[in-house]
């Protein structure tokens, strides 16, 4: 089962390390990473496989949201269906 992690906020050292570290901790396999910086605003999108994760997505969402608060970024962890539904016919 795939999910999307989005990380948005002010660029700083170690964002990718923190987020991918949390993925490893919860047995989440990172499939794709895209990141860019526009006018100092960092945005990263990770497509991950949560089939073997150690908890359900609603709990992972809370864990990553808390990590976001800790490092001063907006982190969202959601299933992919929303983006498919909104943008593809």
């Amino acid at each position: 089962m795939k999910a999307v992690i989005t990380v948005i906020g002010k660029d700083r050292v170690g964002i990718l390390a923190k987020v991918s570290g949390a993925c490893a901790e919860h047995n989440i396999n990172v499939l794709e990473v895209t990141q860019n910086i526009l006018q100092g605003l960092f945005s990263m999108i990770m497509i991950v496989d949560v089939s073997a994760a150690d908890m359900e997505i609603d709990h992972l969402a809370a864990v990553f949201s808390a990590l976001g608060e800790e490092i001063g970024m907006d982190i969202r962890f959601t299933r992919t269906e929303l983006y498919d539904a909104m943008h593809h016919i």
Binding site: E56, A61, T78, A85, M86
Partner: protein, 453 residues
């Protein structure tokens, strides 16, 4: 294939532009709860609601967290209670309202609609009893909402009911005068009421609906406004309409997804998506602001009705392809107290009751969440209800009146309902009396538009 820009756009719509699913509403039929013994009927009602909706809130919250979609309200609509009163011996409708309130609190929803009666062609057993109990029922409960259908294109307008409802609206406000006249904010008088409306205060579970069903009401004025701010500069009106359609499509797809997921998880059939732009008092989440973004200096100016007609049509066209079952009210809402831009326009005198009435001819509901002076006579409120019902009847559309007489207050004062119901200034109303017309009673015959067969 997921596209980075698409993902970021969805996140922005949710986090910055207040995009949300406004309500997941479970419709529950109570027809099998009718009983000659009112106490037994109430027991059956409580049991059925608390069984069917036991997991509604938990499931909606889990889906919200898993898919990253805010679901603001979880609600219940039930069979019009007047239908259950007919067979009961000496029932007190307030007991039924208290039962609904208790059941709503038990399952954790924030409103329950269906303290209702359908009297568009006349009163049947239980209808008058229910209507006369509304002031007390809404004063003694927290979450119960009431609606009365007094007219339809097919049957005309029940002017006896119009007269009665003018009085009931006043009495309901009086009964809750120490609580911002809140009772009247939970009471809607409809013409052509839809049977599958998920939005309060007008939601009820029509007799043609299945035993239990899930309806979804989407929102998103902030997202439409933001799309216009970003991309509408220099566009002609048809370009603006196209932009609104595209945004409405995305908003509605989110509602359809949530409806499917909740319905699957609860094992309850999915009913409809209500394609509505439902504003909130939050800054920017406003239908008035969309009209201003289209090019009006202020909502209420000349041009408002035309801009709203275009907006309403584009929302439907964009939404209808995104959902396999569309229903409810479906269109742009214009509740004054719930819309930051309308509150501002009304406070400054640009948005008047007469302009709002014109706007209701082209959008999805009616004179909604409008605060009027506390000394407004019942006959004037009845006249307003009759006018709105006539617009709905002739145009084959839903119209409604939800006005709040601010008891003890007048123009220059305001009422603050709190939360999503917002706050609003007392708006002036034409008090020239329609008393003789209202006292005639009887029925306005159905219009020629009704003869379609």
């Amino acid at each position: 294939m997921l596209n980075t820009n698409d993902i970021l756009e969805s996140i922005r719509m949710i986090s910055d532009e207040n995009l949300d699913v406004r309500t997941v509403t479970m419709g529950i039929s109570l027809l099998d709860c009718a009983d000659p013994d009112p106490a037994k009927a109430c027991e059956k009602i409580y049991k059925k609601i608390t069984t069917k909706a036991k997991n509604l809130v938990a499931v909606a919250e889990k889906i919200s967290a898993t898919y990253g979609i805010p679901i603001v309200n979880k609600r219940i609509s039930v069979t019009p209670i007047a239908m259950l009163l007919g067979c009961a011996e000496h029932p007190d409708p307030v007991d039924y309202a208290l039962t609904l309130d208790r059941a709503a609190k038990e399952v954790g929803v924030n409103f329950i609609g269906g303290f209702s009666a359908l009297v568009h062609k006349g009163f049947s057993a239980g209808d008058r009893l229910l209507i006369e109990s509304i002031p007390q029922a809404l004063a003694k409960t927290d979450f119960v909402c009431s609606s009365i259908n007094i007219g339809s294109t097919k049957s005309g307008i029940n002017m006896d009911a119009v007269k009665l409802m003018g009085e009931i609206v006043r009495k309901t406000a009086e009964a809750t005068a120490d609580n911002q006249c809140m009772g009247a904010a939970k009471l809607v008088v409809f013409c052509n009421a839809p049977e599958d409306n998920p939005f309060m205060a007008g939601a009820f579970h029509g007799p043609g609906e299945p035993d239990c069903v899930i309806h979804v009401g989407v929102s998103g004025p902030g997202a439409v406004r933001a799309a216009l701010t970003k991309s509408a500069k220099g566009l002609s009106t048809d370009g603006v309409a196209e932009l609104i359609k595209r945004t409405a499509f995305k908003i509605t797809r989110m509602g359809q997804l949530v409806g499917n997921l909740v319905s699957e998880e609860l094992g309850v059939p999915f009913g409809i998506v209500d394609l509505s732009l439902a504003p909130t008092p939050a800054k920017g989440d406003s239908v008035a602001n969309i009209l201003e973004e289209i090019g009006l200096t202020v909502c209420g100016s000349c041009g408002t009705t035309a801009a709203l007609a275009m907006l309403n049509d584009a929302v439907k066209k964009g939404g209808v392809m995104a959902s396999n079952h569309v229903g409810g009210l479906s269109g742009a809402f214009i509740p004054v107290s719930e819309d930051d831009g309308m509150i501002s326009a009304a406070s400054k005198g640009f948005l008047t009751l007469e302009k709002l009435e014109a706007m209701t001819a082209v959008c999805s509901v009616g004179i909604d969440m409008v605060v009027i002076p506390g000394d407004t006579p019942a006959a004037v409120i009845s006249g307003l209800i009759a006018d709105e019902a006539a617009i709905g009847m002739v145009n084959s559309k839903t119209t409604a009146v939800r006005v709040i007489p601010a008891i003890g207050k007048t123009v220059g004062d305001s009422l603050d309902f709190g939360g999503l119901l917002g706050y609003a200034p007392v708006m002036p109303i034409n008090t020239a009396s329609p008393q003789v017309f209202i006292d005639r009673g009887g029925r306005i015959p159905s219009p020629i538009q009704a003869l379609k067969n």
